[in-house]
Structures are given as C-alpha cells and as structure tokens.
C-alpha cells in the first residue's frame, strides 16, 4: 500500500504542529524576541518620529530575519537527536514532500505570528500610513522564503554539535536579496510610488526557493545523517 502524497504531507504537518503547540516556547520565544528587538529601537534612538519612520521598514525586516534565524534550529535538530529524522528519510514518501511539510509547519509556527504582530510594531515605529499594505505583502511573500532558505542551512549543520554560529553565517547572506527588495518596496509605498516590481521579485524568489529548496534540503539531510 502506497501512502498518497497529500496524506503524508498532512500527517507530518499535523505532527509538527501538535509538537509545537505542546511545546509553546517554540512559538512564543521567536515572537517575543521579534517584539523586544523592534521595541528597543525607539528606546535607543529616541522618540523623534521622523527618524523612526525612516528606519522602520529596515528594523522590522531585520528583526524578522533574526527571529526566524533563532527558530530555525528546531526545524530538524530535535528530529535528528531522537532518531525521527532517519525514520522520516526512510519512509516511503519522497523526501521532497516531507521536507516541504516540515518547512510549511515551521512557517505556520514562526512566520505567521510575525506577520500578524508586525502592524502593531509598525505603529510603535511610526511607520508611514501608506506602507502598511506593502509591509504585510512583503512579509507574506518573504517569510516563507526565510523558512525555505533557512532550512537548507539547518539541514547542512544538523549533524554538527555546535552549528549555531555557522548556521547564521550560512543563512544570513542568503536573506540579503529578500531584505533589500522588501524594504525598498515598503519605502516606495511610503512615497506613494508603485512597488509591484519589488513584490514581483520577492514572489519570484519565493517560487524559486519553493521548488528548489526542498531538493537541496533533502540532499543535505542525507549527507548529514550519513
């Protein structure tokens, strides 16, 4: 009997969400980190609203990158240390599907809460009122990219005892294009300029990584469990 791909996907997704919901700090810690990092800026720079307005897109996005980075290790580390990763790799469903399910679960657990809380932090930073739609759209397209590209880094470092710093060195440079186009889209929106171009590029990066990253993650996991 062959499992159908969609039921395998749902099965893994459900498992990861169950684990995350029973282990709530996985969801809450990155979110709190995100909120605290962003709220440090008004405190450090002072409440001059013009300065804050200028740096708001960058601050929110950099904080989102770091919060994602913080949560990445959980993606495969626990599975690797308790042996479930081997079992997943030896399951009859293709590695592509299981990797995609795990990444989607990771995005639901960390990316989605960031998107929901981001407008509130925009208020805190006095984000330009025309920029909110752009902020939400870039986050909606950009945070899945962060999970997808990050997963490659985690898969490569999962076998190492102290892969944390190496992980950030591997992954952060890969996040630069998303950061550049996202903040430039939000800036353009604040000046009432069209930002379709930037969005299209982020969307292209998203679809590119959606189709290619799971293959890279699968191969990297096989190397890491070798």
């Amino acid at each position: 009997m062959q499992t159908s791909y969609s039921s395998a996907f749902v099965n893994i997704l459900k498992r990861d969400l169950t684990i995350a919901l029973r282990h709530r700090d996985d969801i809450i810690n990155p979110l709190l980190f995100f909120i605290i990092v962003v709220s440090l800026f008004p405190l450090g720079i002072g409440p001059v609203s013009n300065t804050l307005m200028k740096i708001a897109p960058g601050v929110i996005w950099v904080a989102a990158l770091l919060a994602t980075l913080l949560s990445l290790e959980r993606l495969f580390k626990n599975d690797h240390s308790d042996g479930s990763l081997e079992q997943l790799l030896l399951s009859p469903c293709p590695t592509f599907i299981l990797v995609l399910a795990k990444i989607f679960a990771h995005w639901l657990i960390t990316g989605l809460p960031l998107i929901i809380i981001a407008p509130l932090l925009g208020v805190l930073l006095n984000l330009h009122q025309d920029s909110y739609t752009a902020l939400m759209l870039t986050l909606l397209l950009g945070t899945p990219v962060l999970s997808l590209l990050g997963a490659i880094g985690v898969a490569l470092t999962v076998g190492l005892k102290k892969g944390g710093v190496l992980l950030s060195l591997l992954v952060l440079p890969l996040y630069i294009p998303v950061l550049i186009f996202a903040t430039s889209a939000i800036d353009a929106a604040s000046m009432n300029l069209p930002y379709n171009g930037q969005l299209a590029i982020i969307a292209a990066i998203f679809f590119g990584s959606l189709t290619l990253a799971p293959f890279a993650v699968g191969s990297a996991l096989k190397v890491s469990t070798n």
Partner: protein
C-alpha cells in the same frame, strides 16, 4: 519450509571505511526470504555501519546494495516501502503520547492507524496509550518503536540492537515475531549482543572482525 526462497536484498562487494579504519572489505551476501540474520562482532567492528548501509542511510566506500536487482539508491521509494529500519534511537517524540507516536509511523507507511491502541497492548503498553512519551522509560520508548513491527507489511526488517532495554518476556515475544515474519516470507537482519534463543538452524550469522592491515 513451503515458502519459496528468493533473494530480497543483496550486498555486493561492500567496503566501509570509517575514520581511516577499514571496517569490512568486499563483503558480499544475499538476504533471502525466510532469513533471520544476526550480525555479530565486537564493539567497533562496523555492525551499525553495515546496517545503515543496507538501509540506505549511509553510503558505502565501495560496492552497492541491490533490492530486486536494482541499486537501492535508484529505487528508494520502492525499497523504503518494503523496509523497516530501527536504529539505536527509537525516534519517539516526547511531546506526543505513545498512541500518537505509533499512529504517526503507521500513517507514514500507509498502514491502518486505527489499530494503534491494540498494537500497543501487544508490546505491554496497555494503559499507557495516552501517556506522553517523555514520561515513559527508555524500554517503553523502544517498545513504541518496535510496536510497528506487528502491523508492518514490509518484508525487510533491519533492526539495530532491538533488544536493548527490553525485558526477558519481551525479548521472547520479539523472537517469536521474527520467526513468524521469516515464515511468512520476510527477512530480519539484526544485531544483538545477546544470544538468540531461536534454534540455530533457523538463523544465520554474519561475523565481523577487527581488520588489521
């Protein structure tokens, strides 16, 4: 025996080198239906490495493993659906109950997960279905992992130290299960430092020794 013997899995000139040490060289053997094979050897002779290579988790330095005359890395999905591998780590999630853990693996292999509760009773975990695995002992974790064997329709079982932390009655029950599986046309490859109580005609041994060059 009435079952027809045919080759399920073939190791073809496997060579394994770990940390510049040669573990085994040009190792070839067939695994037929009905075989129970015990891989024996002192610590560090490459038992686990051999099993991981057979399961397709590790790459041999040289040689290949054939499933239905095809390299296992070329027909991975087919091979995986006919394989159960249990390694040193049980792969049990502490955040989930024993029943959820078992159900997950049954679903992953496309098996009927409604029988999970009943299967847990087979491995003496009756009454622990709703206990979080993190509250259970190492032996019970292993039992959750092993419970899959009762439901499995995979032919090839590769088990690395399946008896670790299992009590005597449990070991006996497992041995009976292995015999039944072999009779039904399956094959079991296992490592263990315990002596099997199975009659010696019913199982084969592969003995690995330290290599000195």
């Amino acid at each position: 025996m009435a079952t027809q013997h045919s080759v399920l899995l073939a190791a073809d000139k496997l060579t394994c080198i770990r940390e510049d040490r040669l573990l085994f060289d040009q190792l070839s053997f067939d695994v037929n239906t009905g075989d129970i094979i015990q891989v024996e050897g002192a610590n560090g002779t490459g038992k686990t490495s051999l099993l991981r290579i057979l399961a397709g988790l590790s790459q041999p330095y040289d040689g290949k493993v054939l499933y239905k005359a095809e390299n296992i890395h070329h027909c991975q999905e087919d091979y995986n659906s006919d394989l159960i591998f249990l390694g040193h780590l049980p792969g049990v999630k502490g955040e989930m109950t024993s029943e959820e853990n078992l159900q997950f693996y049954l679903k992953l292999h496309g098996l009927d997960h409604s029988l999970a509760e009943q299967t847990l009773a087979e491995v003496n975990l009756f009454g622990f279905e709703d206990a979080l695995a993190s509250h259970l002992s190492a032996g019970q974790h292993r039992r959750i992992a092993l419970a899959r064997l009762w439901q499995s329709n995979s032919k090839i079982w590769i088990l690395d130290e399946p008896f670790t932390a299992i009590d005597k009655a449990g070991v006996e029950k497992l041995e009976q299960l292995f015999l039944r599986h072999a009779k039904n046309g399956g094959a079991v490859i296992l490592t263990t430092h315990q002596d099997l109580s199975i009659h010696s005609n019913d199982f084969k041994k592969i003995i690995l020794e330290h290599q000195f060059i």
